[in-house]
Assembly symmetry: C2
């Protein structure tokens, strides 16, 4: 009996069960027994919810839940001593990108759910200082509770974390979302337990820490994003003064062939500043997936046929592509910009546009969850998308390269996705979320039923093939799923993978024991490479 | 005779003349004799022009002028072999911050004057890709020559370099200047000669290199700014589509006591997006210094008295503070924003505002050089400021902390500057250039006559005292003069100088021989510390 338990208990590479137990005891002694857990219920949240049930191998051995920066420092120091890899997680989601699971089996999760204080909201200067466990709900509620004349740019599904989403280059939608640049100033626990503050925070009591992104000399903030060079424990986040008017807008395109024209018009309007936020373009199936389930429309084999998509587009009144976007500002300026963008888009055959203006007293109670999101009111309604295929057991894997915001590149990226989805017999759920006026993420949500192992494998295989094919076309992922993180990182191959070699050098310097999130963004470090990582799916070799 | 020449010839630390000669020969053999110079005329440009003539100690031993990235790589590899510190310089200016001189005596300058190609201008996506020797004139001329419907955000004095100014966190003025974020993507020669491309450039042929600031994983771009971790050899720079209307604006404040009210109004208008560019606030003496010389107004001892400043303010029609700023965009929006900002500022007693709208056909020939600068037309007219005290031999040292853009902080920073200038018997030339809606650089231009060694010493001493005093108040320099770079860096003391220790760790890893710009931003590395650096002015100890 004992032997069976031993063989199934996840332990970190090169660490015995006894050594792991000693480490867990040391964590408990340092930060408190109640902050360390190893029971199955506590660990259940830290698995990818979109894997075939029971097949996950990258599962944690324990979870520590610090309540202070000092706790985090103690954890990191002990992890070095005991050679225990740590996998920090904010609120515990990351769905579609591998979930809250660690990359290395047996890692100890560092969960920030109990470090969820909004430390400060400054109305005069428009910022919040937050801990890494603050959710979008927490931030919104703190702004409301303080009666501040401010709004936060948020994500589609409000349960996630402000810091963890930011660190992942996550996308939000209001004007401050452009270039994912709303954060200002990090506090970071380094892999040796030392404490760094980036930008102006490197000076004691410098009031510009959350105001000016730099200090004197090189700025390390961006080195801690999508990274395993440290653990972020505080972050400044800019909040926008409430605009006079908020006008959510909906553009429908009934002829999918004209999508490239919409892209060019959008770039022009964004470059001119007429549209100054992050639109979200979705094809019929993405929109439908938030409002219905696949089985309502089609239950045949292979991808949903074109004529069924046309039916969905018409019956649900969605169009073949839909763009959700918004204007913010003084009413006179909003009116001018609406007239201008309407005139520009309506030159494209098959387009219609609608929208309505709202004052601040109406925002919290808007009936449409999309329209709530674009003015910073969090909800979880849009999570329904995940159950398109498979209902409660539905899942998705997201392939999301960045391409220039031009008709030509959008068409090329879309062709790749359509072809590969068709080859794999999967629906094409495509969307675009511009980064700025010049570049856009082109997201392919690949849905599957986790009860159908063959379909799951097809979905992951299709995503991996797309990563490699896109890399050859010069398109890189803005964010990678755990199961193809190494493959996605490997595509960045300029000068014999100069960036990867640079990152590994920094990793070995800052984290010689490979403690912090080994494998994150394909960065392993020498010790974990010696332990045999990365483990590559032999059907999809790196080269 | 020979001995005298030997004793005065600058050689790098720990390097004999013979070893230096072997290194210079190796440089010449690798990149061509014509690209290596050691004659006094060639080296004359690489000294601080604002020191007492003949007193400079931080002078170079030679200059190499690469014409290709491969040249730069060869230089760096040989510098490692021969232990020769290199000091890269774009166009050779940096006036007011120590000039084009190296921090370490005997360094070899890497001058980019012959790497001055605008490699690409993309009108559809609004960017240029430039080499490190491209001047603001070069960029402007390339846009004009290509007939592009684009404008570049530029600096006050057009002779500087686009890359070198950007790397120094330099300030420009148009909408893209906000947060100094107009650059996108670097190519960097690392200290070992390896070649890195940052952000999306880490992937071969990725068209989003100049479009999306990141790639997958941590982004190192900002680590190469104000830094000595590598030499930037290419940079993407965003260009703005020409707006329908450009409206330069001038606000005068006749009662200096109301400056804090102007600051609060400005922050509100910038947070609301009504003003979306970098204004420049200048007190009477800064404005006067660009248009006249001190001797015209006053020749008594000590700082210019208040009543004389009042006279200047009235006679030159400047006001006690003047703000130059501008609106850009569709005419209807510009009109709305002008009416709004005018109404807001005119609530402050003693304010007047004027401005006029111009279409694109008028920009190149605007008579006022300030108004040219704010629409991207370079000129050198505003350089006259340097001759306020001392005429042709005039100089200045700039003290420039970043403070929150609030009435309270602006008043506190100004009080520090006024008091310390008065103590030192120097004129107070103050100005503010907001970084964004939340923070501003508060610049104190300290003028002196380089023919008067006592005045020069007073000016530098005042600046150094201000750096230390400002540090205690929590204000850090946005850019530091060579002569107090160590002092300014030392103010960033959070957690026992965690940022400095982090930087030194990275420096030792990437550049163990201390080859690239030793001392830059106070980062020396172990080898140069073993050679006795930094050398601290004992009158101004670090602690």
């Amino acid at each position: 009996m004992t032997e069976i338990i031993q063989s199934t208990r996840p332990t970190p590479p090169g660490v015995s069960e006894a050594e792991l137990d000693r480490a867990l005891e040391a964590f408990a002694a340092a930060i408190g027994t109640e902050k360390v857990a190893t029971d199955p219920e506590a660990l259940q949240d830290f698995q990818d919810p979109y894997q075939v049930p029971g097949t996950a191998t990258n599962v944690p051995s324990g979870v520590v839940s610090p309540t202070s920066v000092e706790d985090v420092q103690a954890i990191v120091r002990l992890a070095n001593e005991h050679r225990i890899p740590l996998w920090p997680i904010g609120r515990g989601k990351n769905n579609g990108y591998g979930g809250a699971a660690p990359q290395v089996r047996g890692s100890v999760m560092v969960s920030f759910r109990n470090m969820n204080k909004v430390l400060e909201i400054n109305e005069e200067l428009g910022y919040a200082m937050v801990e890494p466990g603050v959710s979008w709900y927490d931030l919104h509620d703190a702004i409301e509770a303080g009666g501040h004349d401010l709004v936060a740019s948020i994500v589609d599904v409000g349960w996630g974390g402000v810091v963890s989403n930011t660190l992942e280059h996550g996308l939000t939608y209001m004007p401050y979302s452009i270039d994912q640049a709303a954060h200002c100033g990090f506090e970071v626990v380094l892999p040796d337990g030392d404490l760094l503050r980036t930008g102006s925070g490197a000076m004691d009591n410098n009031p510009t820490w959350p105001l000016y992104k730099r200090g004197l000399g090189p700025t390390s903030t961006e080195m801690f994003m999508q990274s395993n060079f440290g653990i972020v424990t505080k972050m400044g986040y800019w909040l926008m003064p409430k605009p006079e008017v908020y006008m959510p807008l909906w553009l429908r395109l009934w002829d999918a062939a004209n999508l490239p024209q919409v892209i060019d018009a959008l770039r022009e309007l964004m470059l001119a500043g007429t549209i100054d936020m992050r639109p979200q373009l979705s094809n019929t199936l993405i929109m439908a997936s938030m409002l219905s389930s696949r089985a309502q429309w089609y239950d045949g084999p292979g991808p949903i046929p074109e004529d069924v998509i046309d039916t969905i587009a018409k019956e649900m009144d969605l169009g073949r592509w839909m763009m959700r976007f918004a204007l913010y500002g003084d009413e006179a300026v909003v009116d001018h910009n609406f007239a201008k963008l309407k005139a520009r888009f309506m030159r494209i055959p098959g387009v219609d546009i609608k929208g309505e203006k709202y004052g601040a007293d109406q925002w919290e109670t808007l009936p449409n969850p999309h329209e709530q999101v674009m003015i910073g009111v969090p909800n979880n309604d849009l999570y329904k998308m995940a159950s398109w295929s498979g209902g409660e057991e539905g899942g998705h894997v997201d392939f999301s390269p960045v391409v220039p915001l031009t008709a030509k590149h959008a068409a090329e990226a879309q062709q790749l996705m359509v072809e590969m989805c068709a080859e794999a017999g999967l629906d094409y759920l495509g969307g675009m979320l511009p980064i700025n006026a010049r570049a856009t993420t082109f997201i392919n949500v690949i849905p599957f039923d986790t009860k159908d192992p063959e379909q799951v494998d097809k979905a992951y295989s299709a995503a991996k093939r797309m990563v490699a094919r896109a890399g050859k076309m010069g398109y890189g992922e803005y964010r990678a799923h755990l199961s193809f993180m190494d493959l996605a990182a490997h595509q960045f191959g300029f000068n014999d993978h100069a960036q990867g070699r640079f990152n590994e050098t920094i990793k070995d310097t800052l984290d010689p024991n490979g403690i912090i999130a080994p494998g994150k963004s394909g960065i392993w470090g020498t010790r974990m490479r010696q332990e045999g990582f990365p483990v590559i799916d032999e059907r999809f070799p790196l080269d």
